[in-house]
C-alpha cells in the first residue's frame, strides 16, 4: 500500500485523464508499488470502456424517417423565417428560447482531456506485475502470487535462463509439469538482448514476461499474471500491456531466426 490516500474521485480523474500534472505524477508514482490502487484505477477505466461499448450499437440504429423529416422541415422553416425578418424577429426568438443559454467558450484544457500514458493505461487494464530492472519483485494482481524459485531479485530461474540462452522463439518447452513458450527476441535500447516468453504452470498463476540479458544473466523486466483462462496462453489484453512496455523501452522489431541465433550466441 502507498502511504498516500487517494479518493475515488482522484483515481477516476486519473483514469479519465482529467487530473492536474502534479497529482498525476503522485498517482503514477504510487501505482508503481501498489497493485490495489492499480485495480481501483482499472475499475474506472473498464467502466468507461464498457459503458461506451455497450451503448455504441445505438448509434447505428436508423433514426426514424419521420423524425428526420420533421427536423428538416423545422430547419427549413427557421431559415425562411430568418430570411424574412431576421432583425425584427430576433427579440421574439430570444423570448421563446429563453431557456437556452449559450455555452462559455471552454478552456482549452477542458476540450482535450489528457489521457494517462499508453503504458499506464495498458498496465491498469490487466492485473499486473512490474518488475524493476534492479532487484525486481512480484506483486501479483491477487496479492497472493507465489513465484517461488522462479524469481530471485529479478534474476530469472536458472532452468528458464538456460532455455532463454539457447532455444529459438516459437518453441514450447516443458519444465516439470509446466511449460515455457518463447515468443520473441529483440534488442532494447541499443544492444541489450531481450526475450519475451510465457509461462504456464499447474496450480500457479500463468504469466507473460520480458527478460533482458546483462552481465549477471537474464533479468526479469516485466511479468504479468494472466487471468485464469483454462486453455492456451496469455489473452490479448495482457499482450497489449507487453506491447506498451516494449514500446516504452524502445524495443526493436523481433529478430529473424538467424539473427536471433547469432544474438543469443553472441554473449553469455
Amino acid at each position: 500500500m502507498s502511504d498516500m490516500v487517494f479518493t475515488d474521485e482522484i483515481l477516476m480523474a486519473f483514469a479519465d485523464g482529467e487530473l492536474d500534472d502534479e497529482t498525476t505524477r503522485r498517482v503514477e508514482a504510487a501505482l508503481e508499488t501498489d497493485d490495489e490502487l492499480m485495480a481501483r484505477v482499472a475499475m474506472f477505466m473498464e467502466t468507461r470502456a464498457a459503458a461506451n461499448q455497450a451503448l455504441k450499437p445505438m448509434l447505428d440504429e436508423p433514426v426514424p424517417d419521420q423524425l428526420v423529416e420533421n427536423v428538416r422541415a423545422m430547419a427549413a422553416k427557421a431559415t425562411a423565417r430568418n430570411d424574412g425578418s431576421r432583425a425584427a424577429d430576433a427579440a421574439n426568438d430570444s423570448a421563446s428560447a429563453d431557456n437556452i443559454i449559450a455555452f462559455r467558450r471552454p478552456e482549452p484544457t477542458a476540450q482535450t482531456p489528457r489521457r494517462p500514458s499508453q503504458l499506464m493505461m495498458a498496465l491498469a487494464a490487466s492485473l499486473l506485475i512490474v518488475v524493476g530492472g534492479v532487484g525486481g519483485y512480484f506483486a501479483g494482481g491477487a496479492g497472493t502470487t507465489d513465484v517461488g524459485s522462479l524469481q530471485v531479485a529479478g534474476l530469472v530461474d536458472p532452468v528458464v535462463s538456460g532455455i532463454l540462452d539457447q532455444r529459438a522463439s516459437g518453441e514450447e518447452i516443458a519444465i516439470g509439469e509446466g511449460r515455457v513458450r518463447l515468443i520473441s527476441t529483440f534488442e532494447a535500447s541499443g544492444e541489450q538482448i531481450c526475450r519475451e516468453y510465457e509461462m504456464k504452470r499447474p496450480d500457479q498463476p500463468d504469466f507473460v514476461s520480458v527478460a533482458c540479458r546483462n552481465a549477471g544473466g537474464w533479468q526479469t523486466q516485466l511479468a504479468i499474471v494472466t487471468p485464469e483462462s483454462g486453455e492456451g496462453f496469455a489473452p490479448a489484453s495482457s499482450l497489449e500491456t507487453v506491447d506498451a512496455y516494449l514500446t516504452s523501452i524502445g524495443a526493436g522489431a523481433p529478430l529473424e531466426a538467424e539473427a536471433e541465433k547469432k544474438a543469443l550466441a553472441g554473449r553469455k
Binding site: A39, R40, A50, A78, Q111
Partner: protein, 180 residues
C-alpha cells in the same frame, strides 16, 4: 446568413443518432425519446443564434434536451411513470445478502446503466459515453464540477458491481488486509 441556417439544420440532422441515443438512455423509452429529440431540435432551431461557434455543439444540444426532459418529469410527477429526480443514490447499491445475490446474477452493462438512478445515469452518459469533460458535463447539468465527479464515481462503482466489471483485486482491499 441563409447558408449558416441551412448548415445548422444539417448539423442537427447529422447529430440525430447521438441525440437520440442520449434521449433513449435518459428516459428509457424510444417513443418518448423521439418526441423529446424533436422538441429539442425545435428549441435549438429557435435559438440557433445563441449557439456560440467554437463551443461544443453536442454539449449544447444535450443540455437543451436534458432540460426539456427534466421539465417533463416535473410536470408528470403525478402520472406514476416518472422517476424521482433526487432518488437515493443508494438504491442501486446491493449490500449484504442482497449484494451476494446480485453478484450471482450479473446484468449486461446496458441493463446495469439503465438501472442507475437518473442523476448517476446522466452524468455517466455525458462523460463516459459521449466523451464530455467533467467541466462540460457540469455545464450541461448545471451542477458544480465536484458534484459531477462524486456522482460519476458512484455511478461507475454501481455499474461495476451490477455488471461484474470490477477487477477482483479492487473489490475489497479492506477484507484482504484483514485476511493477511
Amino acid at each position: 446568413m441563409t447558408d449558416q441556417d441551412i448548415a445548422f439544420g444539417e448539423r442537427l440532422v447529422a447529430f440525430l443518432p447521438n441525440l437520440r441515443r442520449f434521449a433513449i438512455s435518459l428516459c428509457r423509452s424510444r417513443d418518448i425519446a423521439d418526441d423529446l429529440v424533436q422538441a429539442a431540435c425545435e428549441k435549438a432551431l429557435l435559438g440557433s443564434e445563441r449557439f456560440e461557434e467554437g463551443t461544443r455543439f453536442d454539449a449544447w444540444m444535450f443540455r437543451i434536451l436534458r432540460n426539456l426532459w427534466i421539465d417533463q418529469l416535473r410536470r408528470q410527477k403525478t402520472a406514476g411513470s416518472s422517476e424521482e429526480i433526487d432518488a437515493q443514490p443508494e438504491l442501486a447499491v446491493p449490500s449484504g445478502e442482497a449484494g451476494s445475490e446480485a453478484r450471482m446474477t450479473l446484468k449486461s452493462v446496458a441493463a446495469a446503466i439503465d438501472d442507475l438512478v437518473l442523476e448517476q445515469r446522466e452524468v455517466l452518459l455525458l462523460t463516459c459515453v459521449e466523451d464530455l469533460s467533467y467541466r462540460e458535463a457540469a455545464e450541461v447539468l448545471g451542477i458544480p464540477i465536484g458534484t459531477v465527479m462524486s456522482r460519476l464515481a458512484r455511478a461507475r462503482k454501481n455499474l461495476a458491481e451490477a455488471a461484474g466489471i470490477e477487477p477482483e483485486a479492487a473489490r475489497s482491499p479492506d477484507m484482504r488486509g484483514g485476511a493477511r
